[in-house]
Symmetry: C2
Subunit: 289 residues, 2 copies
Amino acid sequence: MTEKVQTVCIIGTGLIGGSLALALKKSGFCRRIVGAGRTEATLKKAVELGVVDHYETDFALAVKDADIVVVAVPLSAMKNVFEQIAPALSATAVVTDAGSAKQSVISDAQVAFGKTSNRFVAGHPISGTEKSGVTAAFTELYENRKVILTPTNGTDGEAVQLVTEMWQAAGAEVETMDAEHHDMVLAGTSHLPHILAFGLVDCLNSLEDVDEIFRFAAGGFRDFTRIASSDPVMWRDICLSNREDILVMMKKYQAQLQMISSALEDSDADALVEIFSRAKKARDQFNNQ
Amino acid sequence: MTEKVQTVCIIGTGLIGGSLALALKKSGFCRRIVGAGRTEATLKKAVELGVVDHYETDFALAVKDADIVVVAVPLSAMKNVFEQIAPALSATAVVTDAGSAKQSVISDAQVAFGKTSNRFVAGHPISGTEKSGVTAAFTELYENRKVILTPTNGTDGEAVQLVTEMWQAAGAEVETMDAEHHDMVLAGTSHLPHILAFGLVDCLNSLEDVDEIFRFAAGGFRDFTRIASSDPVMWRDICLSNREDILVMMKKYQAQLQMISSALEDSDADALVEIFSRAKKARDQFNNQ
């Protein structure tokens, strides 16, 4: 394992940051992990659970000796955290994040870091569960999962390499792509499905005999709506940060539903089979990947 | 176990009929299970796998000695099967089905069975997987799952009792309700989610870089769209059989999505958190049931 990394600082020791800390500890990627966050009780818990070695509530103190800083906070908090750490970073420190939308984070980083934003590498681990918090963290969260890095033209190549090695040490497969492309792809495969699941549960919840309705729900419903148990504030942030791409996807989906609605209105059996068959074929292929 | 049941005939030995056969065999509910269907190869396979004891491709022959006939065929085939078996049923035979919509099946039964439709008990096991066919059948499918029976005012009480005992022998919890109510509840908890999942996969599948999109899909997407691997013809039938209730639910859902779209258009953070929080609360309660 690389010898160059002494200290990793993880700001935000929830499911995402905490699981990364556990995986890095296990792999021996660095000598020391410093946790930082706003809530001292959470940080104490993180030390107690062996997730981090040490904690700081002052972000500037936390990042002072860090070779890598991972900012794993809600998207709405990114800019503020970047601004707090910018003056305290060492000249060689590399900063990365774990947010679900990338263009907004890159723009926040450019404002906060200015000239040194070439050592900021935007990243997104494609994993997580509907749970949150340090107690939900586990070492294997990133094993064989994808992490997408979205460096810009100005991003330092060595910084990208270091962040890549960090995620590989945590067990992940790392790929790079444009931030614009990332945001569009994730709007379709993650952001839209979460909105649809939240929407379905809220819709059924507004019906009169809601207890009956949930009582007779089966496994399909359970799986379909699992992601509606996700953190509402985190998802508000994702929606606002990737608003335009999500709106594009929502419009496409609303048109799709209108197409199915019309087929059903017209009792158009062939149209229904055609749509369902295309979907099944695509989903079966995805399953076999 | 009751001594009154000698022979159960199961028409349609796919996932639903085949799993029932396996569970009834294991429980000793009856002496003999006759399988029937259109495709001899499937029936041979069912005998080979030990799912049924004997098979017939002629439905009238199949039901001749049956105490209970379970019709587990697609909704669009119900009426035709009912008409074929009606003249061949013994005077005491009880008929039930396993269709996902109940008003349409009751109406088919009333036409086909006429005066003897009082011994038809409409039923729906709330279970299944996205897989189909006799090779997908397994003994435990109904264990601790709900089965809803929707007898009408005219349905014979003893017939309801016998069908209840059969499903209990297969491990299920049996409840009764009005067919109208069943169809509305299932439109919301099962039929609508399936349509939404088929719709999402078809929508993403129509995008240009579809390979990329599926490649970066994570666990949430996988669970959300699992039901889009379901049988397209079966779901066409369900849509057409429960068309009106599904259309009511789709309209409600489309209004819900429009509400979320508008909140997003307006960058209305509070509205988004409110919707997502209500959904999370309802979904968490369902999880704890």
